[in-house]
């Protein structure tokens, strides 16, 4: 088996305690892209063009084309503009951004500098998830290294381009992963999502034009500049450029992050993750983080890992968190735990989400504990319908979609619970 091309974690060796440092990063072509841009004076539009060509899609969950997002930033704007990295990785099942920041922090820094150059931005923030203190400290050290080497700050590498980057440490609120909640949080407030429009590109951090991308999105950029957007696109498949990190968790032998080209068959990824634990049968898989619809094992086994294939199969690629469940898993219990999470993490601003997530949790809880009624299944779908598409942010959808998919694909298991007041498994 030939080793698939890696661009995010190439040459990265976590067992070497100094491997993340600037000089090691430079040995793996680090900052070559930035130096090329500055020495050749590549025009910013050219960079956005290249990113568009690459078909890089946002790795934070929504899969929005990155080049297009970058082109929304006002060009002739006189005042401050901001670049923000969303490293608030809290979507259950996702642990890829932590590995990028911890083991290869400079790839993120370089990607952000290039993004800032392309959009004419002079200041940026990297918002790091609260629970990963060591990784936040690692980022702080890496930013210091870059600053000392003249890669961040005023007149980067002697050019007339300046960019300051700071890390901001979160403190435990899933909703701050939502981009406008994250901006509120950066401003020192409760992380409650904003109404959109206006979008961050016109009214973002401190009311200024702002672009927000996920850690992995930025980390993909240096390779694109070094090798060209066309090459990146070819790594994956049309409309789904590049490689992607998949965080595989649950019932596999080797949980962990696996970087594979988009379009790789799921079966191959499962094999890389060591196959099913105990050789058991794959019952279901949530292919894109807990907010996405579950898919039954047999559908999953025929699906490829890219945005379009997973959408066709009936779910979403999301953040690339692949949660594997074998035939010992009680789907009612699994859904109960997820519903509790959304209920706990709802910021409470919109009634359908605040009240609805509570309803979902309570009804699933009563099915799980043996006091459910057959009508509850319709009730759950009904509550989900009343949340989905009726809220300020997508947390409402994230709470509703898993419920509908679980009932759709594993209805007999829910019915069994209600009838027999116990698990099928």
């Amino acid at each position: 088996m030939t080793q698939p091309v890696q661009i995010l974690l190439t040459g990265v060796d976590p067992s070497d305690p100094d491997n993340w440092r600037l000089r090691n990063y430079e040995q793996r072509e680090g900052y070559v892209a930035l130096k090329k841009i500055l020495s050749e004076n590549i025009p910013p539009e050219k960079i956005i063009e290249e990113v568009k060509k690459s078909a890089l899609r946002g790795r934070g969950g929504a899969g929005f084309p990155t080049g297009l997002k970058w082109s929304f930033m006002p060009k002739q704007y006189e005042g401050d503009k901001y670049l923000v990295c969303n490293s608030d990785e809290g979507e259950p099942g996702t642990f890829k951004d932590r590995d990028i920041m911890h083991h290869n922090p400079h790839i993120l820094i370089e990607g952000m500098i290039i993004g800032a150059y392309a959009m004419g931005i002079r200041a940026g923030y990297n918002y790091v998830h609260g629970e990963i203190w060591n990784t936040y400290e690692r980022m702080e050290e890496a930013v210091d290294e870059a600053r000392e080497a003249g890669l961040l700050g005023t007149n980067i590498l002697g050019s007339d381009f300046s960019f300051q980057l700071y890390n901001h440490h979160g403190y435990g609120a899933y909703i701050c992963g939502e981009e406008t909640a994250l901006l509120e949080s950066l401003e020192g407030k409760k992380g409650q999502p904003r109404f959109k429009p206006p979008f961050p590109a016109s009214f973002g951090l401190y009311g200024k034009p702002t672009t927000i991308n996920n850690t992995e999105t930025f980390a993909s950029v240096p390779w694109i500049i070094r090798n060209g957007g066309e090459k990146f696109l070819q790594l994956g498949k049309p409309n789904n450029g590049g490689t992607k990190l998949f965080s595989v968790s649950g019932h596999v032998n080797k949980p962990g992050n696996y970087e594979i080209p988009l379009g790789t068959p799921f079966a191959k990824l499962l094999e890389m993750a060591g196959g099913m634990r105990g050789g058991r049968k794959l019952k279901g898989c949530i292919p894109g983080g807990s907010s996405m619809p579950v898919l039954p094992g047999d559908i999953m086994m025929q699906t490829d890992m890219d945005y379009d294939s997973i959408a066709k199969a009936g779910s979403m690629l999301g953040s690339g968190a692949v949660i594997i469940m074998d035939d010992t898993t009680c789907m009612v219990k699994a859904l109960e735990r997820l519903s509790y999470f959304y209920f706990e993490e709802s910021c409470g601003q919109c009634t359908p989400c605040r009240e609805g997530t509570g309803w979902l949790y309570r009804v699933i809880h009563r099915i799980e504990t043996g006091t459910g009624r057959m009508e509850d299944l319709d009730l759950l779908n009904n509550v989900a319908d009343n949340i989905q598409g009726r809220t300020i942010c997508a947390l409402g959808d994230a709470a509703a979609m898993p419920v509908r998919a679980m009932i759709l694909h594993f209805r007999d298991e829910f019915e069994y619970h209600i009838e027999h007041k116990r698990c099928l498994v």
Partner: protein, 158 residues
């Protein structure tokens, strides 16, 4: 109200934001204050508010919104264990039961000797290392078998 060392750390955070946006440092200021004091009293929050030029209510709002702030006194070690689905599929519930039985406490309780407080956590972005727990917000421990839990509790209990 806070040690000069803490103030120095807060000052460093303030420099990250534009001069008219001191409020952006409130999350780190509260975290630094909590590291020093163990938990956030109203007095501490008022101090932070004054220091950053914010209305105290705005600081309370932040402190109550984010889960990692301690608004009540707790044991010497706060242990937060993730029980979300990906971790639950890989032993988090067994690990939780084992810790609870060993310490003789449930979630949101403090052991009789005042050493440990147990909290239930949400995804910490480390699901591949399940079972995962966090000690005092900063030290993350993964692959927590009963053996490793024994060793950790012993070390922390000293």
């Amino acid at each position: 109200m806070l040690s000069t060392e803490s103030i120095k750390k807060i000052d460093r955070e303030i420099t990250k934001y534009p001069p008219d946006q001191r409020q952006s440092a409130v999350m780190s200021a509260l975290a630094i204050a909590q590291d020093e004091k163990g938990w956030l009293t109203n007095e501490t929050m008022d101090f932070v508010a004054h220091y950053l030029g914010m209305p105290p209510i705005a600081v309370y709002e932040v402190a109550t919104f984010y889960n990692m702030y301690n608004l009540q006194p707790l044991g010497k070690c706060k242990i937060t264990i993730c029980t979300n689905l990906p971790c639950a599929l890989s032993g988090a519930n067994d690990a939780t039961a084992y810790i609870q039985q060993k310490l003789g406490i449930g979630f949101n309780q403090t052991s009789a000797d005042g050493k440990f407080t147990l909290k239930e956590g949400e995804c910490m972005g480390a699901c591949g290392d399940a079972p995962v727990l966090l000690v005092n917000n900063k030290r993350m421990c993964g692959f927590m078998s009963n053996d490793k839990i024994d060793r950790l509790l012993e070390e922390l209990g000293e």
